[in-house]
Amino acid sequence: MSDLMNLTLKIWRQAGPADKGGFVTYEVSDISPDMSFLEMLDVLNEQLNAKGEEPIAFDSDCREGICGMCGLMISGHAHGPERTTTCQLHMRSFKDGQTITVEPWRANAFPVIKDLVVNRSAFDRIIQAGGYISANTGAAPDAHATPVPKDNADRAFMAAECIGCGACVAACPNASAMLFTASKVVHLGELPQGQPERDARVVAMVNQHDHEGFGGCTNIGECSTACPKGIPQDVISQLNFDLRTAMRHSR
């Protein structure tokens, strides 16, 4: 239908965690603007496979922007030039003849596993530190026992939209995961059920965040710009507030 494109791809290849890695340049041709960025990489991988070269490793699963598995740094932008996930980025956002640089998320807390695949288990550990409400199965009161004001419910939902993709870390000049951490703190902190653990949660989560080796947040705001779910920076403010409250309560 529409015009096919030819592109030059400068892609980070790294055989394993210990390998130094480097860029390799590939040419792809006849790329349809309707392809997603990852489908374009699929096409490249099929070509590599045919030539006997090992395909490029990259993560993806749902390919519809919700699981948070995908994530590439595309010509300097986390998830590419549009506000969306890499899997929902389409080739029509690029121009024929363009050179595109593809890098993995870069952060020491996200070590590279291979090529464009990184290890984001630090996020799981931040959640383990306190990103939950302790409610054992079977112990719950009726769902209508505690009404939640709609404003709080909506704000909790907004923060709960985080898909844990790590683009905020990738984009932050400090490699800070504060947007991710804060979205969980706000999600649970907005709800009445989340109040009993509120102080302990923020203290434990931020400590774990720091311990994982993420940078501190200095309110630069690149994270929110890159976040495919548009989580705003004001969640970080609320995290700061909660931490200060915890400090007052001498946590």
């Binding site: 239908m1 394993g16 349809s32 309707d34 392809m35 997603s36 990852l38 489908e39 374009m40 699929d42 099929e46 496979n49 045919a50 006997g52 070269e53 090992e54 395909p55 490793a57 993560d59 699963d61 749902c62 390919r63 519809e64 919700i66 699981c67 948070g68 598995m69 929902q88 389409h90 029509r92 596993i113 291979k114 288990s121 996020f123 959640i127 383990q128 990103g131 939950y132 409400i133 302790s134 409610a135 199965t137 079977g138 112990a139 719950a140 009726d142 769902a143 209508h144 009404p147 939640v148 004001p149 709609k150 419910a153 939902f157 939209e161 898909i163 844990g164 999600h187 649970l188 709800l191």
Partner: protein, 679 residues
Amino acid sequence: MTENSTKLVEGLYTVGAPIADAKAPEGPIDKKWTTRKFEAALVNPANRRKMSVIIVGTGLAGGAAAATLGEAGYHVKSFCFQDSPRRAHSIAAQGGINAAKNYKEDGDSIQRLFYDTVKGGDYRSRETNVYRLAEVSANIIDQCVAQGVPFAREYGGLLDNRSFGGVQVSRTFYARGQTGQQLLIGAYQALERQVAAGTVEQFTRHEMLELIVDGEGEDRRARGIIVRDLVTGEIETHLADAVVLASGGYGNVFFLSTNAMGSNVTAGWRAHRKGAYFGNPCYTQIHPTCIPVSGEHQSKLTLMSESLRNDGRIWVPKRREDADKDPRDIPEEDRDYYLERIYPSFGNLVPRDIASRQAKNVCDEGRGVGPVVGDFRRGVYLDFADAIKRLGEDAVRAKYGNLFDMYARITGEDPYKVPMRIYPAVHYTMGGLWVDYDLQSTIPGLFVAGEANFSDHGANRLGASALMQGLADGYFVLPNTIRDYLATAPKNELTEDSPAVVEARRLVEERTERLLAINGERSVDSFHRELGNIMWEYCGMERNEEGLRKAIDLIRGLRAEFWRNVRVLGAADTLNQSLEKAGRVADFLELGELMCIDALHRRESCGGHFRSESQTEDGEALRHDDEFAYVAAWEFTPDTLTDPEDVAVEQVGAGMGAPVLHKEDLVYDFIELKQRSYK
């Protein structure tokens, strides 16, 4: 298995002993679950730590089960192939989750949810299980709210409901278009809490490749799994007292589906090869409103909420020549609003299977729209022009804005101006490993939960019921039934050197080596794509004997070629995504054949299974309750025909003999069987 007859039926399968008892307790249906919970043996809290359970899968079913068993104090090992438990495919569910809360006071009840689910499943599900599902549904919502799941609320602060999938009550709880994500994050957080507490050990980027079954006959027990660490390539052995599979659905056998790229059948299929029966493999659900395929490169299909059919009108051009025209230039009289034409009373709101089938029919006639994919156009218009005229663009935006945006992002077209294009896509698999009332498979100690089992949806699943089932299984059912097994099952020592373990490990290692050694010409994806085309063509929305027989031949040919000619590059001892895919496709190549055999043997139409030979005069599905009111539970047999010299081929998977059919009769004590009609 002495009763098995060895006579081939239709040249494809043999018939074995029927399944006599699914082990539901006696008594009235509304007391059965209470009875079962009471009768299930208890485990002293101090002993729980010494008992271990492996749970494969961290979706709603697996995540909830792992968290709950962890809370109870068992030693749980949880596995998923993604990099975090939170990414299980449950995350993608959009619409909502059903529960018989009757918060709207509109006449909902456990009884009604039970009834709707059995009817929705076209009377091919087990009454006892479905009743229990309806019974625990209300507890699910309580549990999720307590965990902080941000369900939609009304201004008064109470939970909102919507109605879904044609039922007449409002019982669907939702969290905007992300119900699955929010529920899964709730289960995930509960799981992570247990990881921190030390009760759950979490293994991410680990793929189960074999089940360890110790013992023989009645004494055999599922005792562990062999996994591959997807990062280092290391083959690991994990032993436990019981194994739970919650590994999701197998829709990806069709290559293109709304499932995630990694969704696969390997865990279930490996267990099937070890003796677990596979229930109703041919029951697949095809969803009518997906964004159509845009070209050969397509890797997956994206679902758009069915709610679009409330205001959008579906049509195709009357004449093929108009396919290329701008739809806005096609005058009314040249359009065919085919659903409104064929089903004047239900119109665009006919059930999923009918809407899907009719879309395929008009496209097969050559009247589809959009790009030509393969040899014809796969798409029909979903037009909001009338709705925009009637309600105004703002009202349409308020109602469907996020769906329109998603459509625009994917297709690059503006649905406010140009009609959207939709096409059906494989969405859900009702079939799965056969389980009894306790969710235990035919291998003692192997439990199956969530979409991976065949249990509650019969031949068709209602919208918003899969999330309910996954969480019911994970939070409430499994933790109660598995404790009975753990308390009573005899324990014998098993070590990494035990023959059953060594054997399972060897299978995995050989298979891996073999896949890497073939070094043929075709990529894994090309096999997968071809298998998907065969399945879609012959075992998709409409099936018939001729097509299914052809499909079986084609699949056998493709499978043989796969083991001869696939090319998997890279090494076994690193992250190797081609190798992962190859293993999954190898299993799909076997499953696909079983699905076709199942579809062929079931000479009736029911739910998602439409046999063109079995329809009413109006082209509606026609059930044959006298012959087919049973669950088809298939037993695996290895191929005895394979060249005995080539042992390796047989053991790694190329060999698959005629499966054995075991029937579990469905008895309807509480609900009367009826034919459905939507005219």
